[in-house]
Symmetry: C2
Subunit: 360 residues, 2 copies
Amino acid sequence: MTRLYNFCAGPAALPEAVLRRAQQDLPDWQGRGLSVMEMSHRSDDFVAIAEQAERDLRQLMGIPENYKVLFMQGGASSQFAMVPLNLGGRTGSANYVYTGIWGKKALAEGQRYLPAHIAASSEGNGLTRVPSQSEIQLSDDALYLHYTSNETIGGLQFHAVPQSPVPLVCDMSSDILSAPLDVSRFGIIYAGAQKNIGPAGLTLVIIRDDLLDQAKPETPTMMNYRVCADNQSMYNTPPTFAWYLAGLVFDWLKNEIGGLEQMAIINQRKASKLYRAIDTNAFYSNPIDPEHRSLMNVPFRLADDRLDKDFLKESEAAGLLNLAGHRSVGGMRASLYNAVPEAAVDALVDFMQDFATRRG
Amino acid sequence: MTRLYNFCAGPAALPEAVLRRAQQDLPDWQGRGLSVMEMSHRSDDFVAIAEQAERDLRQLMGIPENYKVLFMQGGASSQFAMVPLNLGGRTGSANYVYTGIWGKKALAEGQRYLPAHIAASSEGNGLTRVPSQSEIQLSDDALYLHYTSNETIGGLQFHAVPQSPVPLVCDMSSDILSAPLDVSRFGIIYAGAQKNIGPAGLTLVIIRDDLLDQAKPETPTMMNYRVCADNQSMYNTPPTFAWYLAGLVFDWLKNEIGGLEQMAIINQRKASKLYRAIDTNAFYSNPIDPEHRSLMNVPFRLADDRLDKDFLKESEAAGLLNLAGHRSVGGMRASLYNAVPEAAVDALVDFMQDFATRRG
């Protein structure tokens, strides 16, 4: 058994310690004679697992008391509909910041339920910078302002939280838990689990209490935040095993990493090493303005794209997995989520230098 | 490590062989250096896993070519909205057969999107029989007829598929794969995974092709069957690990059990043993008409309900887990899904006889 280095953009690497613990517990959780997957979600054991996960998350992120944490399903793509459905019960428009493919998808779905307004866009700069505060222009009737804190495909990230007089809604799927955050600046934070939280099939929603009661009447019951909150995310059977694994990840962040400040230091160091390797070798390039580069997803190109296939083949043979760029843009991409160890980045940087020397 | 007998109604027991295989593969699937959870859903390896699961399911159930198999999220409760949203694009009403709590919930959500008509109800007989064919009266403008093939709480099951001139929609969450089925009789079959398919967080939808294009315009993209079908259930990141585990369950059914005919024989034998134990001992009772009793969920009562707590405590001490009835009805319930071995039923029957002798 050998674990290789996995730079996949998602579903992404999980901490090895988490997988080991899950493996050990799999057929018999703590001597109870059954797997976590086989427990009633309403059993004392599972409720304790679920509550511990929420407590750990609240502590890690410093989530204020007046916010609910929801464990939902359907990924960020379902949130693209849930946000306008849940906040669209009053008259007004939905405001979106567009910085890449995911923000565009959120906008497209939002437009199906509300009049939508593009409050700021990075299209003019070729998606290489996120808008500055002064570039964000809300409509007069804005119900909320939505943005994507990190664009996984473009490799563009907000390093400061925008100011907003209306509830700020953030798709934080790809950089949640990567650094400390002031949750009180947000109305809603949502995130698909499969990057920094756990396995695919779980979606986290952190929502300020006053936003729970503004749903449009046609909102499906299972998409209604109020229903989910009032039932402790168990209106129906939740994805119990994914919830448990998320709990193991929160525990790992808390007790093995030492919290989000420590995590941020490690993430900063990992990304710096890789960007330095790109910037100091003419064979590699990344188009994003250095101030707006993503610490989570680092897209890069080779000077000669005819070598892309060889790069991917040789890197895989060297135990560096999933470095292909997104199918819509090509090139390379290394995702450096929390669970990707610094040693993986060191190995990648060594490989890149070697490859450029041999083939560049 | 001891595996105990688990009679939970859901999330329910999984085959031990499936858990062992998942455990072995957990940190390193087939020498690839990573877990199935950490693979891109678009990777060759995961696509092969996903396609194999669908092939095995199609073979097991004999699913005709003109049906799509969708791997979705959100459980049956999400389908309660998806069915009227996806079939409600034309004028007409939704017809429901009411035989218990789950059918009632489906009806309540359906009414939010379409005029609804109760085509038949078991309320008159105290939910102890399912309606006969002649009792089912469709409305003139029926778009579809919905029923729940097995009521997990009441313990009431259809043992024949109703005839319907309009598309038949079935919530088969708790008895799918328990016996052979003529899929061509149905318009849509859906099932939450956590009883006979795999872990919670995956929902299976089997839908006839002509029903893919009748959605109401407000249907959320992620709830649209056509979108899901056109994207091979990967419009966004699917619950990959749950899908993989479902594939292991299908493989187990095919290769270890020998298919659904064999499974049905075993299930029939398990249920017969338990109902016989109930019917031949005055200390136990089950209120359902014998012809309509569920083979999957067997609710029963003790002659003296002051002994319920002792029964539960002692059965748990004997390694028989999760025998409490649903919180809405009390009493006892033993769920005998596919993965519950016959030896579990034998042990339960022995315990029941012993308990009745000692305490009855």
